[in-house]
Amino acid sequence: MTTAQVNSYRTGPDEKGLFGIYGGRFVAETLMPLILELEQAYKDAKADPSFQAELDSFLEHYVGRPSPLYFAERLTEHLGGAKIYFKRDELNHTGAHKINNVMGQILLARRMGKKRIIAETGAGQHGVATATACARFGLECIVYMGSVDIERQKPNVFRMKLLGAEVVPALSGSRTLKDALNEALRDWVANVEDTFYCIGTVAGPHPYPEMVRDFQSIIGNETKRQMLAREGRLPDSLVAAIGGGSNAMGLFHPFLDDKDVEIIGVEAAGLGLRTKKHAASITGGKPGILHGNRTYLLMDDDGQITEGHSISAGLDYPGIGPEHSWLHDMKRVQYVAATDKEALAAFQLCCRLEGIIPALEPSHAMAHVMKIAPTKPKDHLMVMNLCGRGDKDIFTVADILGVKL
């Protein structure tokens, strides 16, 4: 593992799509020309001010950005340490940060003349966001979702259908998010002419990790601006939950070169890191190749991918974005984990103290905030990415609490 010092943590990936040894383009030959076409199209769009202007306009008027940076006063008092701010990305249209990336990719798909959009989804948030944008622009939308996830996320499945998307169950393998990704890739291989694959996280073959990061970086850029306006200085620490890692990367990336900002990613420890029932790819996995990139993965000694487990369907992916793997090796970002139980406790505390029902994903970030905030001085500014709202999770939570709805 490389630990050489770098001048900037924000210049990756290189022209081969690598962050250190992570990332790359590990795809079948059929897809290679499409990946190269996408890379070029994204480069062109990035250099075109009219593309950014169109995206900004939709983010403001349709998504509802900027999202507030909110001082969580009662949580701060309760924990008795750091001054805690929430970046309120749960207030976006469709209820999570996923739409930031989807708007970017769908505008790019339109620019490329693609009429058919495919996506994978775990908890359903990315699927709902994609179905939403496709409805808005009159595009055909097919969402692949593991049949196990379809069962545990029924409200989101219905939402996608209302929005006109076709939800296709992934019946192979473990029938969860990783299998939905496999099915989406299989669809793409079979429909190369007219199809755009809208990946929901900072993973997959180059240029996806870079592109999704760029679209999500609006979270960190706004946070920087808002914190400077509120407190006159940068935050001291950032905390975000990580499945594939797109909300975290969006918050972290603009701060990577601000070396005094402590950055912490929180993976899902499920039933505990000592059990096999977790989804902590960095804390409990090792480097391998899946879904087009090299990154930390959960697998057995023979290189077979194992299933992630988490109370949160959005976190139980056995991999993580390759840039996170690199930031871990470089020790720029600290990766920790929170269990199902800790996340559930944080979920309940947030409801009671702040009047906000968070999604189970950011509840993992909050669980870590609860651990470290009390150890910090009162002038320590801590930002937690509240990346999704918890309406979709009330059934899961009710079930665990033994409440019949």
């Binding site: 030959e29 059929t30 290679m32 499409l34 890739l185 299989r186 190369v192 190749i289 879904h291 290189g303």
Partner: protein, 272 residues
């Protein structure tokens, strides 16, 4: 000349017929049955044996080969056992080329150098690794060729004349032309488009071209054999394995025979 793949294609060229390349998944449905299946393949008419290295997430494969991989994994198949199978086959057959086909992660985790050494020692002649396009040649392709193992490339309908030189730059053995846009074993290939594409690719390479993905019957094989140097049959064979299994998913007395008789049938198509 020790390269079995080169010898085999040269020999068949003299006989003026295409090669029948058969794909089965290593360890499907269990180690012993799998060994019996491959041991009998040459006699049944297979000219080259492709052996699938099972992987949990085979993103270019259709339901039939996905299921075969999972059966093998449930049966306890590992990369070590796959190499052991090749070794056991090689003990009784010095001529038939064996090509391992699969995905990069199990090889990467095994360790590239160790894998290449063990594979060479077991008698492996070539590798087809679906998720390693030319852009990732430093990973395995270059080391494999240095170790004396052919790195066989997949060419697809999206491999246009602009991209072809990159695809054929570092490769040997033969070219595996994927005849359909899609995953294994789903769509039937359009014969005219196959012929057109095979002839187009010949402008870029002198290597033999084998055609696969979707070839299921003796008739298809016969038709494709007119323009190609080889025909790959895979999903149809692993489906024959599946259909022969007991209700509990175990191998039955019919399993080995089911595969061999289908191979014989298709071999007659290729040879006629």
């Amino acid at each position: 000349m020790t390269d079995r793949i080169e010898c085999r294609f040269a020999d068949l060229k003299q006989k003026k017929r295409a090669a029948l390349v058969t794909f089965v998944t290593a360890g499907d449905p269990d180690y012993e049955t799998s060994l019996k299946i491959i041991k009998g393949l040459p006699k049944a008419g297979a000219d080259i044996i492709e052996f699938g290295m099972p992987f949990t997430d085979p993103m270019a494969d259709g339901p039939a080969i996905q299921a075969a991989g999972l059966r093998a994994l449930h049966g306890g198949q590992t990369m070590k056992k796959t190499l052991k199978l090749v070794k056991a086959f090689r003990a009784g057959d010095k001529e038939t080329p064996v090509v391992l086909m699969g995905y990069y992660n199990p090889i990467y985790v095994y360790g590239v150098e160790k894998f290449l050494g063990d594979a060479k020692a077991a008698g492996v002649d070539g590798l087809i690794v679906v998720d390693l396009p030319p852009e990732e040649d430093d990973e395995l392709c270059i080391p494999a060729m240095k170790a004396g193992i052919n790195f066989i490339r997949l060419a697809t309908p999206t491999t246009d004349d602009k991209r072809a030189p990159a695809v054929f730059k570092n490769t040997s053995g033969f070219v595996y032309y994927v005849s359909v846009l899609g995953i294994t074993g789903t769509k039937a290939p359009d014969l005219k488009s196959v012929e057109r594409n095979v002839n187009r690719l010949r402008k870029h390479t002198n290597l033999p071209i084998a055609v696969g993905f979707g070839v299921k019957t003796a008739e298809q094989a016969r038709a494709i054999a007119r323009s190609a140097d080889g025909i790959v049959v895979g999903s149809a064979l692993v489906t024959a394995v599946k259909d022969s299994l007991t209700k509990a998913g175990k191998s039955s007395p019919r399993t080995v025979k089911a595969v061999h008789s289908l191979v014989s049938d298709i071999a007659r198509g290729v040879r006629s």
